[in-house]
């Protein structure tokens, strides 16, 4: 049967027409074999533009369409839907990209037009060989897994649960809440972090739709969107949570009296080997740290904790447990690590007392912290002068180039709290004040009004003179070096990707951007999606964020998950590979190269075969198969060669 192709050339306003002679393209198209009709139009994607094509399809019984316009990433779907509506298989469409690949990158009209002709010739040659394909459909498991239970993970889990779907919430820490649980008051409104936060953690524990796994990590993820299989490893806490009442009797009894630095208190207080991270922890259970526990690390202890526990909850025989689950979708919300200021030795962190990180300041200032909220020096006295140093480990080529976004505000919040509590003289050493959020400039103004000194210059180093800490910098607005004596220096340490980010990225098959954080599918238009269908991102694991942005992104990720789960089934592109059993020699090269483990070997027949559900259509097998047995829909040998030939003739 003779093929009837319609060719449409878009001006894209002047985006294309200014550089490419569209009318010449129309004339040229009409000369190509198979082309029944060719037209140009100002905006093909507009309604009148589409109507024009529809009318032609009906009047000229077109069966294939070539659109010469912008990148297929922009409007392929638009025009495929058009074909579908007109009863033509959407895979009989081809887009010739004459904008990004031609008009935008050239100036010479004549040469650009010639290049556009080549692109168009290739597109027409290819469309002749294109085949009708049908999309595949799969069912979707009506449940989700959220990895990381900071404010991002909690918000996402609660949203999904309130939509009536099951959520598995996994955190590797023994408690939920992440960093927000450590904060004192929050900028810019100064509401107390635990007051706004505790109701949410309590709700997580109470909600029947949410199954919580703490002290757990995700070991393996297989399957695909709608049908992920996950293996969760529950690490032993050596306390039976079903029995533990959280009374704390064991803590007192533990023989490790001198204790070890408490992680939750950022090393500002000590804990025993068996401990409850903090009094409002959810779940409120004791856990044993196997590193510091004498019995577990040295093999010998009187086990006074076991004696003390009236509930008989302590169980040193507990082993790790692996749980398998099936979920339709996944949200990753693993948060951040604070920058380690030891990497910048000029600031004397770890050398001197009273140089602390901003997170340590949060604990110092928190009513539940080691000083019950009083801001005191190591020796128990009240500081008379305090310095806050911005951009430590951020905006710095030697460490991290990105701006951590929250530390200007966090520093100013802490300056306010410190002023209020100590009356000390306070200095903020900054490069630029990044007060971008709602109410943030207003907060900045307020803090200035409170009499805090802002010195525009980055702290260069800290040393000691006459028993006081000296912060050396330049007041760049005056152009004079300054050395300011203080009693307490708070390093505004930035937010960095978590230490185990690479491992997590590999487990879930997602990528990371140059700054180390997980990469979104599109920085503007798909900020919570990843390149893996069905896996989404929320919170600081994608990049530094304040709490408002974290919560907003978490809700967005939850919405994506719910719309996916609500659909009940998903359509998957039919552009996948298949292996011709007649041609396959069983060499297994394709199995080796397939990045998605989508090819299995049929032992009985001695040949390879593609698992349709797993294949993502990357084409690796097609390229490597020496026998041309592997073939990819929509990218067949004939189609690709026709296109190449079109380009080079």
């Amino acid at each position: 049967m003779n093929k009837k192709i319609g060719v449409y050339i878009c001006h894209c306003g002047t985006n294309i027409a200014a550089t490419v002679d569209c009318e010449a393209l129309v004339r040229f198209s009409s000369t190509m074999p198979g082309v029944k009709i060719a037209r140009d139009y100002r905006y093909l994607c507009s309604d009148p533009g589409q109507d024009l094509i529809k009318k032609d399809i009906r009047e000229h019984s077109l069966d294939r369409v070539v659109i010469a316009a912008c990148s297929p990433r922009m409007h392929e779907t638009t025009f495929r839907n058009l074909l579908l509506a007109e009863g033509i298989n959407p895979y009989l469409l081809n887009i010739a990209n004459i904008r990004e690949q031609c008009s935008w990158v050239h100036h010479d009209r004549e040469k650009a037009t010639e290049k556009a002709q080549n692109i168009l010739r290739a597109a027409v040659a290819r469309v002749l060989g294109q085949e009708a394909l049908t999309t595949r459909r799969f069912g979707v498991q009506p449940s989700a897994m959220v990895v990381g239970a900071g404010i991002a993970g909690i918000q996402a889990a609660l949203n999904i649960a309130s939509g009536g779907m099951k959520v598995i919430l996994v955190d590797q820490a023994p408690f939920i809440g992440g960093h927000m649980a450590q904060l004192d008051k929050t900028f810019p409104t100064l509401d107390c972090s635990s007051c706004i936060f505790t109701p949410k953690t309590v709700e997580v524990a109470r909600n029947k739709q949410i199954e919580l796994f703490v002290s757990s990590e995700v070991k393996e993820v297989t399957g695909f969107v709608g049908n992920f299989k996950v293996r969760i490893q529950k690490n032993p806490t050596y306390v039976n949570f079903a029995r533990c009442t959280g009374c704390g009797d064991c803590l007192e009894a533990c023989v490790l009296k001198k204790g070890v630095p408490s992680e939750f208190e950022e090393g500002m207080a000590r804990r025993r080997a068996i401990y409850i991270p903090f009094p409002q922890a959810v779940p409120l259970k004791a856990i044993v740290d196997k590193e510091s526990c004498l019995l577990l690390s040295k093999g010998k202890c009187k086990k006074t904790c076991v004696e003390a526990c009236k509930a008989g909850a302590i169980d040193f025989d507990q082993k790790e447990e692996v749980i398998e689950k099936e979920v339709g979708s996944i949200i990753i919300a693993t948060g951040y690590d604070p920058f380690d200021p030891r990497l910048l030795p000029q600031y004397g962190y770890g050398v001197y007392d009273n140089i602390i990180t901003s997170l340590q300041f949060e604990r110092l200032s928190s009513p539940s912290g080691p000083n019950l909220g009083e801001i005191l020096l190591k020796d128990g006295t009240v500081p008379k002068a305090i310095a806050f140093l911005h951009c430590i480990g951020s905006r710095d080529e030697n460490t991290n180039l990105h701006c951590s976004r929250i530390c200007c505000m966090a520093s100013m919040k802490q300056a306010h709290l410190a002023k209020e509590k100590t009356g000390a003289e306070i200095y903020e050493f900054y490069i630029d004040i990044n007060a971008f959020g709602k109410g943030y400039q207003e907060f900045y103004k307020r803090v200035r009004e409170e009499g805090i000194f802002f010195i525009r210059g980055k702290g260069s180093e800290i040393f000691k003179r006459d028993g006081r800490l000296i912060v050396a910098a330049e007041d760049t607005l005056l152009g004079t070096p300054v050395e300011i004596p203080v009693d307490l220096a708070v390093l505004g340490t930035g937010l960095t990707a978590r230490r185990d980010a690479e491992k997590v990225a590999q487990t879930f098959g997602i990528s990371r951007s140059a700054d180390g954080f997980f990469m979104e599918a599109h920085p503007k238009l798909r900020p919570v999606a990843t390149q893996v269908d069905g896996i989404f991102l929320a919170g600081c694991c994608q990049g530094p964020k304040d709490i408002p942005d974290t919560v907003a992104q978490a809700s967005a990720a939850a919405a994506e998950v719910m719309s996916l789960l609500a659909r009940g089934e998903i359509e998957v592109e039919p552009t996948i590979a298949s292996i011709d059993p007649e041609l396959c020699a069983g060499c297994k090269l394709c199995i080796e190269i397939c990045p998605h483990s989508a090819i299995e070997f049929l032992e009985m027949k001695g040949i390879s075969a593609v698992n349709e559900a797993l294949c993502k259509g990357c084409g690796a097998c097609t390229a490597i198969c020496p026998n041309k047995a592997a073939r990819q829909n929509h990218f067949t040998q004939t189609q690709v060669l026709a296109e190449v030939e079109g380009l080079v003739t």
Binding site: P345, Q346, G348, C391, R395, D396, E397, N398, I431, D432, R456, G457, K458, G459, S460, E461, F463, K464, R465, A472, A473, E474, D475, T476, G479, P481, V482
Partner: protein, 375 residues
């Protein structure tokens, strides 16, 4: 070669600067001269009248300690900028006269002081040291200019020779054929002379069959390790060698010294090349040595002002010298010996001790001298 200051923007990435002042805030001469690195970067970036900038006396106050460029968050090449401006001046013959003399001396005699080339190895005459060319060895002890000619620093060269001999290390020196490494020459702006020295020295080392280099000065160490383009011979500062010898038991420190000592990190050894632990390990292994750390140590060590051609510059600075501040700091923590491992540090501290009148309270010693005393 003509230098076009317009290329400075690109060469030294001046347009990356975010004007944060980290450079100026940490500069050891910030209170000693009007030099303001942050402002210099911006002025050089924006100026239409470069020669008015290049005339400023304070450009010669910079010690090239590199604190600024090491801490710069934006990748500005601050020290290279200083060297670039000095290079511009050197090409126009506009460097201060004392600097010009040092440069000319190096061209003629192979050392900035203009002492006779032929007398470079006089210090080693009776020490039984192998001389490359006369005898063979694989390890070169590259002596350097100050350790060859300056009587105070010759004592360090002597000490090191006796230590290496005691540890039965097979090594030789180049004798009269040795020439300046060029590290300070480059920093005073004579890039062309530096290139020549690097080329000639490299050829000489290779011809002499040198397989490994030990230096006395961290400045020579820096030049060989980081700035000789085609050397490809492993180089160690002598503190690294001694630390190894002590650890492997080849060097025994038998005599107790009963001293309380502190250590001043030379900028070219510590900050710039991250050799912090070896000198401390050596001091700690001297029997009877009570090691006390100064507050400003390691990456925060306060530059002694001996580098970057400051040994030959006159004026450009005012107020109390860092050397003096350093001596007082050492005295204040109860140290009776200020140890260091750099000829320039040694000389600036000797001066500072005299000026501050603290000679009865503290002495300055090179680590090599202390070790020689304790074997």
């Amino acid at each position: 070669m003509k230098i076009d200051p317009k290329t400075f923007i690109k060469d030294f990435q001046l347009n990356f600067c975010i004007q944060c002042g980290t450079c100026t805030g940490g500069c050891p001469v910030k209170y000693r001269s009007p030099l303001n690195m942050r402002r210099l970067v911006r002025e050089t970036h924006l100026t239409d009248n470069f020669s008015s900038i290049s005339k400023r006396a304070e450009l010669w106050a910079c010690t090239t300690c590199s604190t600024c460029s090491l801490r710069c968050p934006s990748g500005v090449k601050n020290v290279e900028l200083i060297m670039g401006i000095r290079n511009f001046l050197a090409n126009k013959g506009e460097v201060p006269s004392t600097i010009r003399d040092a440069l000319e001396n190096t061209l003629l005699q192979g050392n900035p002081w203009g002492r006779f080339r032929d007398r470079r190895a006089d210090w080693a005459k009776d020490l039984g040291v192998k001389i490359f060319g006369e005898e063979t060895s694989e390890t070169l002890l590259y002596v350097g200019c100050a350790p060859s000619y300056d009587p105070r620093v010759q004592s360090v060269s002597n000490a090191l020779v006796s230590i290496l001999q005691k540890a039965e290390v097979d090594f030789g020196i180049l004798g009269k054929k040795e020439s300046c490494c060029g590290n300070e020459i480059r920093r005073m702006g004579e890039q062309a002379l530096f290139k020549k020295l690097a080329k000639d020295n490299t050829a000489l080392f290779k011809k002499s069959g040198v397989k490994k280099i030990i230096t006395i000065s961290p400045h020579c160490y820096n030049a060989f390790k980081n700035e000789y383009p085609d050397l490809n011979i492993p180089v160690q500062h002598y503190t690294q060698v001694l630390a190894d010898l002590i650890e492997s038991g080849k060097l025994n420190l038998s005599k107790g010294l009963e001293i309380s000592a502190t250590f001043h990190d030379p900028c070219f050894l510590g900050k710039q090349n991250k050799v912090f632990d070896e000198p401390r390990k050596i001091l700690a292994s001297i029997p009877g040595c009570d090691f006390i750390e100064m507050d400003r140590s390691r990456e925060r060590s306060l530059c002694c002002e001996g580098g970057g051609g400051r040994m030959w510059a006159e004026g450009g600075t005012e107020g109390k010298r860092n050397g003096e501040i350093r001596i007082r700091e050492a005295v204040a923590i109860g140290a009776k010996t200020l140890a260091t491992a750099c000829p320039f540090c040694l000389l600036t501290f000797e001066d500072a001790i005299k000026i501050s009148g603290l000679a009865d309270q503290i002495v300055v010693k090179d680590i090599a001298e202390l070790i020689a005393e304790s074997i």
